[in-house]
Amino acid sequence: MRDTLTKFASFAYAGLIYGFIFLPVAVLVLFSFQDGRLPVPPFNGFSLQWYEAVFADRKLMAALANSFMVAIVSSVIACLLGFLAAYALARYKLPGSALQRGLLIAPMTVSYLIIALGLLTVLNTFGIKLSLWTVGIGHVVINLPLCFAIIYSSMGDHHINIERAARDLGASDFKVMTLVTAPMLLPSILAAFFLSVTFSWDEFIIAFLLSRFDVTLPVEIWSLLRSGLNPKTNAIGSLVFLVSVAVLAVLELTLFGRTKKS
């Protein structure tokens, strides 16, 4: 009797938690299929018209492509810089290495708004025009600490002898890094990359403040929302969500599944 009670309580608890997290998303996705003009109850019937509208919307599609590009390019740069920083701090004795590690991770604790305002000031001072490139710079700033932290934590001391063996067999420092260290750390580098992609993909504040004519998807969605609620925004929101889920699923299946084995 008591067992069933605890079991019921824990199921209810789990149900409530997941409901709390996913109900808004579920509602968003549900009303993207709304057959009608308003994404609010009652649900009138199933229709794909809003998805059609999304794919027909040139501005939205352009923003989607922009977002995709910014996410990929900024994540590649963040991973590259993060890897190089992690390699240096893990393998060489650098002055004030604890401080340098702290400085590299510090941007994680600063709000995106402050980072965006700081960058905006700097860009203005140097007379650099706002563009997708400046958005990308902002995303490198926020994702570099994450990439550094993930890659640095996976550089164990047991890798040192492996790199030493490569050097012993005649590899130059550059070859050790590209043929041994990076491939050895590939799972964590890819994990850092994909997480970075999802963060960049969803990011609004920096993209909003640092872009001008070409905008990323979250900014475009925001301008859609200004003209009122519309199932089209639900549809594009669902697509954004779907992409994030897909990236995470790929990550989980290919990388985390693999590291468990070895």
Binding site: H158, N161, I162, R164, A165, A166, R167, D168, L169, G170, A171, S172, K175, L179, V180, P183, M184, L186, S262
Partner: protein, 363 residues
């Protein structure tokens, strides 16, 4: 290929700690050398200096007649086989073994063929497409050996390669290492703290302690004719009997000990010629005790002793004895399986004269 290695007056200090203290060593081409000693004796430091991973604070390293003291590992004719194997986890075995050849600019097809040859040498040709995590410890070890040999080094350095294997596999790998070394002819320098392993594989053993070389020679010499008290004790069980040189007359010396006076040939003093008045330590292996009358050759009597304890070891009895003349001395003797003696019984002790080694005391 193979080459002679020479270390001259190598010293390595880390701050106030001296890891290697004025070590000189000459290794002939094609020899299987074992650096033997307890942890912290400097054997791994010496190996790192040979491999180029550390440079000596003082002294020189010469390989094949060329000064290598400050040449980086990649440009030395040496390769190292690491204790943890250090295989590349993301590469197939054939790519692991072929890595050094790839660094030397060999084309893929050619190096694959050569890598397969070396995998065949260590009996893993069939697993060429596997990755290291699919292998057992002993197999990984063989891959590490193949990888190190594939670049045709003059000298192969092995850093406690068998340490992680269980006893049975270790004995098997010792035989294989020895056989492979004979086949390829490369100079092997192998580090271990296991004296049985050292005796099983070495052409010559270097016994090290506290950064110095204590003894250097073929296994039988190191065991039977040790040149230091440390070396005698490290190579196996031994009884130390303190004594004093009373007189030296020509080719023999008289030594006074608690268990009686004895006259030893000067050849028994392996470390330094005896000097009258000198304090010495006599070293006698437990298996060298004879019952009076059963020995072959001249013997020395050590008086009588009481048996205080006994254990059967299969090949022999290991017995503790207390000499009647020196009750504070405890002696360990191995006696044949057939001896039927009881605790408390008094037996006469004797040793073949040639089996006694006398060393300066306190070293």
């Amino acid at each position: 290929m193979t080459a002679a290695v020479s270390v001259a007056n190598a010293t390595k200090t880390f701050g106030a700690f001296t890891a290697l203290n004025d070590v000189s060593l000459d290794i002939r081409a094609g020899e299987f050398i074992v650096l033997l000693g307890p942890s912290g004796c400097g054997k791994t430091t010496l190996l790192s200096i040979l491999g180029g991973f550390q440079s000596p604070t003082k002294g020189r390293v010469t390989i094949a007649g060329k000064d290598m003291t400050s040449v980086p590992p990649a440009r030395r004719p040496t390769t190292t086989m690491f204790q943890d194997y250090a295989l590349f986890p993301h590469m197939k075995l054939r790519d692991n073994v072929g890595f050094g050849l790839r660094m030397r600019g060999m084309a893929k097809a050619e190096r694959d063929e050569k890598a397969l040859g070396f995998l065949d040498l260590v009996g893993l040709k069939a697993s060429a497409d596997k990755k290291p995590h699919e292998l057992s410890g002993g197999q990984r070890q063989r891959v590490a050996l193949a990888r190190a040999l594939a670049v045709d080094p003059d000298v192969l350095l092995l850093d406690e390669p068998l340490g992680a294997l269980d006893l049975k596999l270790r004995r098997q790998m010792q035989d294989e290492l020895k056989a492979i070394q004979k086949r390829v002819g490369t100079t092997f320098v192998h580090v271990t703290h296991d004296q049985e392993e050292a005796m099983a594989i070495a052409d010559r053993i270097v016994v090290m302690n506290q950064g110095r070389i204590e003894d250097f020679g073929p296994p039988a010499d190191i065991y039977m004719r040790p040149r230091s008290v440390f070396s005698a004790g490290f190579m196996g069980e031994v009884n130390f009997i303190p004594g004093t040189v009373k007189a030296v007359e020509g080719a023999s010396a008289t030594v006074e000990t608690a268990v009686g006076s004895m006259t030893l040939p000067v050849a028994s003093f392996t470390a330094a010629a005896p000097v009258a008045g000198q304090a010495v330590t006599l070293c006698i292996r437990p298996e060298h005790f004879r019952r009076a009358g059963q020995a072959d050759g001249p013997t020395v009597s050590l008086g009588e002793a009481t048996i205080t304890g006994s254990a059967f070891f299969g090949t022999h009895y290991r017995r503790h004895l207390k000499p009647t003349a020196a009750p504070d001395l405890s002696i360990v003797a191995h006696m044949p399986q057939s001896t039927a003696v009881a605790d408390g019984q008094i037996v006469p002790l004797a040793v073949n004269l040639a089996d006694i080694v006398a060393l300066p005391a306190g070293r």
